[in-house]
Amino acid sequence: MKRVPIALTLLLMVALVVGCARPTPTPTPPPPKPTVAPTVAAPAMEASTPTPVVRKAVIGFTASQTGKLNVESTRQINGLTLWMEQVNAAGGLKLADGSVVLFEAKFYDDESNKDRVQELYTRLINEDKADFLISPYSSGLADAAAVIAEQYGKIMITTGAASDSTYKKGYTLVYQTYTPASRYLTGAFDLLGALDAAVKKVAIIHETDKFSTDVCNAAKAYGEGKGYEIVLFEGYDSGTADFAPFINKIPAGTEAIMGGGHFADGSTFARQLYEKGVSVKFIALLVAPPEPKFAELGDAALGIIGPSQWEPQAKYSPEAAQAAGLEWYGPTVEEFVSAYKAKFNEDPSYHSAGGYAAGLILQKAIEAAGSLETDKVKAALDAMAIMTFFGAIKFDTSAEAHGLQIAHQMVYIQWQKDAAGNLVKQVVWPAEAQSAQPLYPLSR
């Protein structure tokens, strides 16, 4: 009689222990790699040296293969994959001591979900022994991952994550590829000033997520510093579909509208601004305009300006690097674009370029450090000042904002009509990168 319950207790206990040890997420197989034979990789010119020591560097990251961030994240991962393939296909990265580093990717699906990100990065570091980390796409997920990287002392290059706040938390191992949010819309004020010095009244309406809030708070301060009057400053929830309350709140006499957030809300906002016939001279929105899909809005897209981290028309070149006194590193813009098109059959977006650039930064730092040790690579990253196809790269090394990107610049695009009446994206700012004259003022 007494036996049965004891056995049951034991059984339950076993069940709970099993319950605790959840099945390990099966690692998604690494992206298909070109067949590289590491030994053959040592080129002829190094024939005099003995067969090089081949070292493996595991790059850990999560991809949003499902969930709301899927599209952008996939492009970012494509860029990163392309970088890794190219490096490994070239025989790996050769270090000063003669050894060769081959990169290996380890990644999981984070489902665009913050909780999963932390669990998975812990796993990448402890189980998969990742040597270096790349961030997931989006400021929110990258911020969640950065805590883990720092807690376990691993270097993380963030990409697809512009929020400033991540770099103001006292981290020392997290480095940013993108232009930070605080400089996202400041150029729009510069452009507006160059176009029409008489315009003074600006309304700012933005999504209240971390990134857009950072952007618009900084833009507001910058605009006010330049003498603009911010006549409306409002935030909306992510997922807002009805912008009428905001549009009705825009005071009469407003000359420019700025703000937005991500693609879904930004394109809806642009559409409703058009339907409501809001007549202003200048509209600049975050994130949504550079997306090719934005053109589906038709006339509502015409004239809308948006900041972009990178565009294929961007004029970064070894000559530009020389002029700026920086070292040039990696492929040229044309090489990157054609390699990307050849592999993925689509034009690279700035997400793709950012993914590639994150790998490139890591590659350069490992090369400069001549080692895979965290301390030495960190020192190389702190000292880095280069120009790549993605633009200039340099990190803040102060204690307050360590790792913040301070050299890279935004470009601003505008949707215009070509001779045939089709919508096309043109770079309108900065002046030296212009591919077309800005359309101004908006005619509505």
Partner: protein
């Protein structure tokens, strides 16, 4: 200032008609069978995708597509009632809350697998009507008109037809209605079906002017709760009025407060009304 008030009020009220339509379904189901239908939002999302699919793949006018959507959603309502609700209709209300929530999870789960959670748009426009300070997209006017028509139809059904009267009798007293020879199971299934139909139609109308995802329904569902309480829980026709009140509030509150405070006011009001007059501002009548 006056112009802003007018524009906001008209915008809010036009939207209020559609909100009211959505809430009517919830209110009817509550009034008749004392079930809080937590699958309401998911069914609205299904309505949205129904219109999206017929519009983009069959090129059907969204308003004609509503005529197809109506019988389909009625049948879906019967199905949900038969599978998930019928068995627990007399169980403690925790069971019906969880059962309808389980339906919600299944619909959203399958919907996410099929459509992902990306944003969809029904690219349909009726132009914009301009009158002084007002700029009213035609689709919103049409949606408000459709909501009024559907409400009138529901009224006629409930007050002029036999099954409609049976529904009201069951809502009033299920046991007594059964004694009078009204088959309770069929009547309950019919009410659930009509509730589902109303939710799906409201979802369909929303697609003509707002973009949506498979998860969009949950926001409208929360609003529907507020409206039901404003209009009187269990009083479907009051729900339309509740919708108008909510729409007007959404239009007017932003004039004095930042827009982000609107939900704080809405839901605080919701809890307060529940506390003071649980039967709702306009009381329960069916």
């Amino acid at each position: 200032m006056l112009a802003q008030i007018l524009a906001s009020l008209v915008d809010g009220i036009l939207l209020g008609f559609v909100y009211g339509l959505a809430a009517m379904g919830l209110s009817l189901i509550w009034g008749v069978m004392r079930v809080i239908n937590l699958s309401h939002g998911a069914i609205m999302a299904l309505g949205m995708f129904g219109i999206y699919l017929t519009f983009t793949h069959l090129g059907l006018n969204p308003y004609l597509a509503l005529l197809l959507l109506a019988p389909a959603s009625l049948l879906f309502g019967f199905l949900v009632y038969g599978v998930a609700v019928h068995r627990i209709i007399n169980a403690p209300y925790l069971s019906s809350l969880l059962a309808t929530f389980a339906v919600n999870m299944m619909v959203i789960g399958i919907g996410t697998a099929v459509f992902t959670t990306s944003l969809y748009n029904v690219d349909f426009s009726l132009g914009t009507v301009r009158a002084g300070v007002l700029a009213l997209p035609g689709t919103r006017l049409a949606a408000a008109a459709a909501a009024v028509l559907i409400t009138a139809g529901l009224y006629l059904f409930l007050y002029r037809t036999r099954p409609g009267k049976a529904i009201r009798a069951v809502a009033n007293n299920r046991a007594a209605a059964a004694l009078m020879g009204i088959p309770p199971a069929q009547t309950l299934a019919l009410s659930f079906g009509i509730g589902t139909l109303l939710a799906a139609l409201a979802g369909g109308l929303i697609t003509t002017f707002f973009p949506f995802t498979i998860l969009s329904g949950s926001g409208y569902q929360s609003k529907s709760f507020v409206i039901c309480v404003l209009g009187g829980l269990g009083n479907p026709l009051g729900a339309l009025l509740g919708g108008l009140i909510l729409g007007a509030m959404e239009g007017l509150i932003p004039i004095v407060l930042p827009v982000s405070w609107v939900p704080v006011v809405e839901f605080t009001l919701f809890v307060l009304i529940l506390l003071i007059r649980p039967s709702g501002l306009l009381g329960a009548r069916t």
